[in-house]
Amino acid sequence: MTWLNAVVQGVCLGGLYALYACGLSLMLGVMRIINLAHGDITVLAAFLIWVIVDRWAVSPFIAMLTVLPVMLIAGYFLQTTLLTRSLRAGPLVPLLTTFGLAIVIQNTLLQIFSPDVRSLVTRAGAISTASWHVTGSLYLPGLGLLVLLVAVAVLGGLDQFLRSTGLGRAMRATAQDPDTAQLVGINASGVYARATAIAVATTALGGAFLAIRSTFDPASGPTQLIFAFEAVVIGGFGSLWGTLLGGIVLGVAQNIGALIDPQYAILAGNLVFLAVLASPRGGLLAARGARA
């Protein structure tokens, strides 16, 4: 039963990783950009939410809904200003640009907020401590289930959006062949700007749950980036359902590792990541959804 509990907690933790990874996966799938600043943008969103909660004493969930449109607009401008130019210079340049952006965000946060560790665990109300006892040592965490639910809704919703809306189809067409997409009337840079806007907006959700669930400081970004990146790779590039699955696999691996020895949590996750990288298929849903 302890093992089952570890798996259940791992699945919930995986929902959080999938939520972190969602924007990363979208940008990688549509533009082939690996956004190295994704973790730091998530932490930036967490800080924005923290400021709103701290100043106006509102619920973190209301703060999250306020920050969401801000990040949406920020993402749009990130693409139209920095990334469009970078993409023109070749596939490697966006990687360097986002790396630089990561450093700028991290140090700006450090300058403004100091290296103090912060958290919104106590501000989220009953949900952060709620849990249901099922049997024996099996518990269902309230917040974990909420995160998982949000992750499924966001990733599933985005997948549906890509599949069945006009803009979604335009995004997939541009992802598969930007040159030809323009020949059928698609404004590729406009599509890219919207994709990045959506990707950055999802960091408001990731950042909120990061703050509500645990602690964060200006240097937390790279860790979130690694977990997000591992989730994307385990699930297979460019497949959003794959990313959800990848996050869950990572979460379960970490929790089972922790059960063996608390020191093994991160290691177990990394080992699964390496095993998937070394496997011939490279990503659980990679072959089917590689260019979804």
Binding site: G166, A170, A173, T180, Q182, L183, V184, G185, I186
Partner: protein, 242 residues
Amino acid sequence: MTLLEVEAIEARHGLLRAVRGVSLSLAEGEKVALVGANGAGKTTLMRVIAGAHPAAAGRVRFDGEDVTDLPAHRRVGLGIALVPEGRRLFPDMTLEENLLVAGRQARPGQWNVEAVLEAFPLLRPLRGRRAATLSGGEQQAAAIGRALMTNPRVLLLDEVSLGLAPVAVQAVYESIAALISGGATILLVEQDLARAIRVADRVLCMLEGSVVLEGSTADLSREQITDAYFGLRRGAGAAGAP
């Protein structure tokens, strides 16, 4: 009335001058074939007209408007549609999605998914299939259908028969026969000379980036075109030219 006018276009691939001062014009309803050997600059010229390749010099005018500096997607909105060489369908999207994605920013007009499936009956049973799984001929029909979804005023067809079995080429041409006889304005690149002559009102023959022969298909003999195609008459009047 002149619909498309190309004036002294130059286009480069790095240091290579692929198109060297080509001018041509297309009247509404006219069909013009662009012939020439591989590497003559036909595809590059088509891509310059569509806006997919930058012009190093010269102008492209469409319906009296200078479109030289417009990006490809804006030209689609004006009514220029290119069916690219190699078909270039979006491989992981279904046939129907390939059509829909092109119809999104379309000019108003007669073409929609139903009309395309009507015009290309071979596509009807395939609408839910992934484009990558279609045969070459089916892909070509789909690529033409996709271009039609934008309701173009001029259709640029690049190497429709490239890499297709003769029977597939026949099927594709049969399905666009109605389009051709229906008064559409078409500029096509075609390797098959006999077919080009049959379809087009006028032929332009390109050699090493320049137009070396131009005339109506009624006036030109097959031999004249073949000679121009291989550059046989070149230098006859100017000995020692490079």
